[in-house]
């Protein structure tokens, strides 16, 4: 892309995001809350102290990892709406991996790697069903990945009641706590920011190379741009479909492992309520499904989300306001796309011609 196009894309996408926020503020105003206070909380709270800055990067790590995968599948015009479920299963599988492998005297560093792998594999398994059904029966991956999010919530209750149930849970749905030597080391004390953020950043490079510099990445792009032409060029579309979705699932599952091993160290029934997987869809789109774009949109969104959560607490608006904001952002993104279409600035992930 030329610099000018990137600039236009950025301006319009940020404008679209701001429209969503403005709509959120309208809802805040409708509740009779102090809009000025809400707005200043939204803007300044995320940078108010070290802990909050750390929180931005906690969100950044999760959103970046998940949306890199969603963005990659988007290049093949595949919509992985199941990031939420894959993230959840990834977290569960990291915990199960820990439970299953502890007692064999495996050194902690290797154990950490195995737990993260287990999480990524969990995400892969969770996306494999929609991927194969899409490739084999042409079923809509959006519907199937979404339904599996609902099943994943059931799996969380199952896991908390069975394989990862805490020894002292006393009837509550709460898991054991991951011991300190198996946690991802913290970067800054008194925050929740761990080295996971470096793994997420390294993934940007990996995904950039995979998407832009390999035959596979180009094939994925070709399928998304024009499946007919790709088929004539001899590209195996079902294979591309399955593989690009599996990559998306692996990253979302890994994000789940990173989150439980780097931030929370335990799971409970409320674990399903983060919304990372849904918000990551918007992040991936805002970043135009490009790893570098997603890097920036993840940061932008993490900042906004910490601010929005603080605002929502400060003026006592329910958390789902965040979903309303994200939804309106999506709709306004398409309006910004419409406005710049003659330039074709926002290209293949958004149009299907």
């Amino acid at each position: 892309m030329q610099p000018q196009r990137i600039l236009r894309l950025t301006v319009f996408n940020v404008l679209a995001a701001l429209i969503g926020l403005a709509a959120g503020l309208v809802v805040v105003a409708a509740t009779g809350a102090d809009v000025g206070f809400a707005l200043s909380t939204l803007i300044f709270y995320p940078f108010s102290d070290a802990y909050n800055i750390g929180e931005i990067f906690v969100w950044f790590t999760a959103l970046l990892t998940i949306s890199l995968g969603i963005g990659f599948a988007l290049r093949a015009n595949l919509w992985n709406v199941g990031g939420e479920g894959q993230f959840l299963i990834g977290s569960i599988m990291s915990m199960i991996g820990w439970k299953a492998l502890s007692g064999y005297g495996i050194p902690p560093p290797i154990m950490i790697v195995l737990m993260l792998l287990s999480g990524a594999l969990g995400g892969v398994a969770w996306v494999a069903v929609p991927a194969i059904l899409k490739a084999k029966f042409g079923s809509n991956e959006i519907v199937v990945t979404l339904l599996l999010n609902l099943v994943a919530v059931g799996m969380l209750f199952w896991a908390l009641d069975g394989p990862i149930r805490g020894r002292f849970s006393a009837g509550y749905l709460i898991s054991d706590v991951i011991p300190p030597e198996l946690r991802l080391p913290l970067l800054i004390p008194e925050t929740r920011l761990s080295v996971a953020v470096f793994i997420a950043l390294a993934l940007v490079v990996v995904m950039y190379i995979l998407a832009e510099k390999t035959h596979f990445g180009l094939a994925v792009k070709a399928v998304g741009k024009n499946p007919e032409a790709a088929r004539y060029a001899g590209i195996n579309i079902p294979k591309i479909t399955v593989l690009s979705l599996l990559i998306a699932g692996a990253l979302a599952g890994l994000a789940g492992g990173l989150h439980v091993m780097g931030v929370l160290y335990r799971m409970d029934a409320g674990y399903a309520e983060t919304g990372f997987g849904y918000i990551a869809i918007v992040v991936a789109m805002l970043g135009a499904a490009h790893p570098i774009g997603i890097l920036f949109s993840s940061f932008f969104f993490s900042y906004i989300m910490i601010g929005a959560q603080a605002m929502q607490r400060a003026v006592q608006v329910p958390f789902p306001l965040v979903y309303a904001i994200v939804g309106i952002m999506l709709v306004s993104l398409t309006i910004s796309q419409y406005l710049v279409r003659r330039e074709r600035v926002v290209s293949w992930p958004f149009t299907r011609s």
């Binding site: 809802v27 409708a30 509740t31 919509w79 709406v81 069903v129 059904l133 084999k136 029966f137 042409g138 079923s139 809509n140 959006i142 519907v143 199937v144 979404l146 339904l147 599996l148 609902l150 099943v151 059931g154 799996m155 209750f157 199952w158 009641d161 849904y278 869809i281 789109m285 608006v317 329910p318 789902p320 306001l321 965040v322 979903y323 309303a324 904001i325 994200v326 939804g327 309106i328 952002m329 999506l330 709709v331 993104l333 398409t334 309006i335 796309q337 419409y338 279409r341 958004f350 149009t351 299907r352 011609s353």
Partner: protein, 313 residues
């Protein structure tokens, strides 16, 4: 109770009657969305429209005391959202998936926030629901009577909607135009059909019925509101159209299967058999996914589905 003690004839009649009583939500929404999809437009926002429809219906019937007013206003909300969706996707030609997902998330968030704002000071609000109207004579037939003919009017409406939509698409002028623009908009245009207007009408019908499908929860099925009340049923409605190969009659079978599994697990949960609630909760969703290889084998979408139309020139 052990499971074999539960599975009596009474239990089956009750769960079949419950199946028919739950079915309208998905049935009405998917019949509407079927019309939309036949015109070549996929509205992924059905879930969001249903949620806002359910909330609006609850709010209006709470205020007016009349559930029918609630259902009517939910249809109006559906039309309003359909207008936004249609202007953007049909006239603007923007990506239907993105707007649909946006409407879903916005509806999900807004219905929740608005409910908590409007009913902040009301302790467990309830509304009147549309009452049962047994059909004379037919409702007295053993077994079939209680299953099919002892319900609220919206149940009968939803069952009649299936042949109505089939006839509408097949026999009426508008129905034929809708199918034409969904299969080959260019050819339809050359025959003098206004592609944009036809698609817009199909979108409005679909989202109006999605609003009513959502309203069914709060005007006929439950007397109180639950957050995220549709819980994925809008997406189920989308899957059902695909399972039915875009044919109203054929969609009815998977819709009834889903709702049967749903009412079965509700029934088993309320009785309390030895199966964990989370497994029972997962059952309907897993059923839908398991049905894909059976019903999705030869599914053939309308040829122009998801493709925005732009006049040459």
């Amino acid at each position: 109770m052990a499971i074999h003690e539960v599975l009596t004839l009474e239990f089956f009649i009750a769960s079949l009657a419950l199946t028919v009583r739950i079915a309208p939500t998905i049935l009405i929404a998917s019949m509407g969305e079927l019309i939309t999809e036949k015109s070549g437009v996929l509205n992924l926002g059905v879930e969001g429209i249903m949620l806002l429809g359910a909330f609006t219906a609850f709010l209006v019937s709470f205020i007016t005391g009349n559930p029918w007013m609630g259902a009517l206003s939910a249809m109006l909300v559906g039309i309003l959202i359909g207008l936004v969706f249609g202007v953007l996707t049909v006239y603007g030609g923007v990506n239907q998936v993105v707007v649909g997902l946006g409407i879903w998330l916005a509806g999900f968030g807004l219905s929740d926030v608005l409910y908590r704002i409007f009913f902040r000071d009301v302790a467990s609000p309830t509304v009147n629901t549309i009452g049962v109207t047994p059909i004379p004579v037919l409702s007295d037939i053993p077994i079939i009577g209680p299953i099919l003919f002892n319900h609220n009017p919206l149940v009968y409406f939803s069952l009649l909607l299936v042949p109505a939509v089939a006839l509408f698409l097949k026999k009426t002028n508008l129905g034929m135009r809708i199918r034409a623009v969904g299969e080959n908009p260019k050819a339809a245009d050359s025959m003098g059909i206004n592609v944009y207007r036809t698609r817009m009408v199909a979108v409005l019908i679909g989202s109006m019925l999605a609003g009513l499908g959502g309203a069914y929860f709060t005007t006929a099925f439950l007397s109180s509101y639950v957050l995220n009340i549709t819980f994925g049923r809008g997406f189920i409605a989308l899957a059902m159209i695909y399972f039915g190969n875009w044919n109203p009659y054929r969609a009815l079978i998977p819709i009834l299967i889903f709702n049967y599994v749903d009412s079965l697990q509700l029934g088993l949960q309320s009785i309390g058999v030895g199966i964990k609630y989370y497994f029972l909760n997962m059952l309907p969703w897993i059923t839908v996914i398991a049905l894909i290889p059976i019903f999705g084998r030869k599914a053939q979408a309308p040829a122009a589905l998801l493709q925005p139309y732009r006049r040459a020139g």
